[in-house]
Subunit: 417 residues, 2 copies
């Protein structure tokens, strides 16, 4: 036997059980998105590299994107994120669209990263944005969507929290402790990396950025200040709206949340598992403009993105992932013998047309047919032998309990429902 | 304003309306697949090129696949089809899987083709296979799945037909008219191209393949023979089973169906729009082995693939595509003024938790809020002003008829349902 060719490093196979989990996740985020009236969209998986030059951070395009020439010699990028695509889509139809847009998407993305727990090179991402609104209500709405999603998958406020901050607040507070505008970008970047660096290294980098020891101490006092949000009228409103929406249990204020991307301008947030075991589950925020740098008229908005890998690890940790790979209501239709086949096929057609999922057996010994049904995870098995056909009956057997009952053919659908 | 960056040639943007159609299509093929107990799976979009060398036709890999080196220098292929991936997946878990497998998938694929009506470089494909069964019942089942799909989307047997043939039958019939085994592959390829070449060119190619004028005439007689299937015990059975399953109206015998791929060995089929305006909607057949050439133990099966582009053109032709981009049951919640906001947000939360999809308005003049609701396609609008809040009422307005009614807050959910 020759060696089986392996899958590409950092990609995943989705056998029915893993696919059932992915599909379950999609349905949960669909419910959360659509409860707020968001509409699904999608862009291509391939984009011109120029698009990312205009929109993405340098690291993402230069170090992580899969870039190649197509057969015609044009440079192509496998999308590493969706924001540039949605910007292009909005810009090219800006006069025909009705703003604010409420759009969500779920699809594959690619980044050339070292495969490790929580990271794959091919991953899926939920993207959701309200585009064309600058209101604080929009900020609150996106946080409420995230909270609704967590409730849908069974994650409680004890499992996960949405950590919220305001970039403008931080800007003002940094000024108050004497950080200059020139120093701010580097200081913000360092705040974003606070959890990723050893404390002493971090302190040194802050001092290298031009702050003095007093400012370093002031900066640390800022991070400890869980009441800092009261200085931001915007955050006061956002938290009030989330309270009115009944979602405040999922919301925490966290002065350390900055988000790396330069384009966030107001409210920013990340969801974290409360025991701190994983990277951020999702992250996003408010931006002053999405589309001007790809050629559109400026449009503000708010949105977030959630990869599939970390959330699945969190759900697995708390035992919240479904384990069935087949719908447990699926029926199994045995084949008694060849003579019974026409009646069996007719019954199959009738049940399927009535909305049942029914697996058809093969012509084989009945015992083997039952074993197959059991192994694929089906719970109820139907038998239609010559005596049943003659009497207008069907045998329904429950594989879990072993119980079996003879049902009148005309009552079968209501008995099974 | 700078020029808007264009999408990559041969790719498509899915704005909410197009996405709603794609999602509708997925739900229809999900219903058809799952009615027969098929389970969803997926593989990576990236595969090693060696996998295609083992499984795919030469044209597909050498001329149509997007191939590139990743940042580590490994050659990577954007999947042009799913069969090699499913072969690899089955081979690498062959001892753990319960056969026959019933697997279906829907996802993106890439081929570097000249973009034209009915062809894009990035497209989606439904793949469905029963793997590990050599029975004629399995052949009939896959045809029944296709028929069920057509019924689900509203295509009748007057719109589409599944054209069925048997490769072994053709093999025998070609022998009968003196075509040698050495000539057969080329003759089969020519039969497959019958519709794509001018008649005189085709005749010449057949003669070039070594057949004489009598054999050419015999070959043409074969194609006219709509009763040829009676010579194939397998087809006689398949048609009987489809009759028992109530699907024979969608089935035609067509001696010209061969399918290009070398690996089909028995029943082969294609779905065609009856007016002949488009390429095949779907195609598939029975294969003697799926996995041996990627290192597994031989496993026979039957399956088909359907791209999204042609079926959407057919559905559009017959006016069967949905045109709503938003669920017409979606509600719109106006905001009377800031004072009413807490009560409005509480009502929003209650409705969404009860399962309603509700778009929240922005703080603005009521007239403008109504116009926005109308433009995004929402049919029912709720108003909660100070007098309604005081009296425990909500105004429900139907935008289509202009009717409005005051509803007791406690009755709202049942009135809206």
């Amino acid at each position: 036997m020759s060696k089986i060719i392996q899958k590409v490093k950092g990609t995943r196979d989705f056998y029915p059980q893993e696919m059932a989990q992915r599909q379950w996740l999609i349905e949960k985020l669909r419910v959360a998105s659509e409860a707020f009236g968001y509409q699904q969209y999608d862009g291509p998986c391939l984009e011109q590299i120029d698009l990312y030059a205009a929109k993405s951070g340098e690291e993402l395009v230069k170090e992580q994107a899969f870039v190649f020439e197509d057969r015609g010699g044009d440079p192509i990028t496998l999308r590493p994120e969706l924001t540039p695509t949605v910007s292009r889509m909005v810009a090219s139809m800006q006069n025909q669209l009705t703003f604010p847009l409420r759009w969500w998407s779920f699809g594959p993305f690619w980044r050339y990263e070292r495969p490790q727990k929580g990271r794959t090179r091919e991953f899926f991402q939920w993207n959701i944005d309200q585009i064309g609104s600058d209101s604080v209500l929009a900020d609150a709405e996106l946080l409420a969507v995230a909270a609704r999603f967590f409730r849908e998958v069974g994650l409680t406020p004890e499992h996960v929290q949405l950590h919220v901050n305001d970039r403008e607040l931080m800007n003002t507070e940094l000024s108050k402790i004497g950080v200059t505008d020139a120093q701010k970008p580097e200081v913000l970047r360092l705040i974003d990396r606070l959890d990723k660096l050893p404390a002493d290294v971090w302190d040194k980098l802050v001092l290298d950025a031009g702050l003095n020891e007093t400012q370093l101490a002031d900066l640390k006092t800022l991070f400890e200040n869980k009441e800092l949000w009261r200085n931001s009228e915007r955050l006061v409103q956002v938290f009030q709206y989330l309270d009115d929406l009944g979602e405040s249990a999922y919301i925490s204020y966290d002065p350390r949340i900055i988000r790396g991307l330069d384009y966030y301008t107001g409210v920013v947030f990340e969801a974290h598992e409360t025991e701190g075991e994983f990277r951020a589950i999702l992250g996003g925020g408010h931006y002053a403009d999405l589309v001007a740098d790809v050629g559109g008229k400026p449009a503000p908005g708010v949105g977030f993105a959630m990869g599939d890998v970390v959330i699945m690890l969190v759900l697995e940790k708390y035992g919240l992932l479904p384990t069935d790979s087949i719908d447990p209501k699926t029926l199994f239709m045995t084949i008694f013998d060849e003579d019974c086949l026409p009646a069996t096929l007719a019954l199959l057609a009738e049940l399927r047309q009535a909305g049942f999922k029914v697996v058809m057996s093969e012509i084989d010994r009945l015992g083997k047919q039952f074993r197959y049904a059991d192994r694929i995870g089906v719970k109820r098995v139907l038998v239609l032998g010559p005596s049943e056909i003659e009497k207008g009956l069907v045998v329904v057997k429950d594989l879990a309990t072993g119980d079996q009952q003879k049902v009148q053919r005309k009552d079968l659908i209501s008995v099974l429902s």
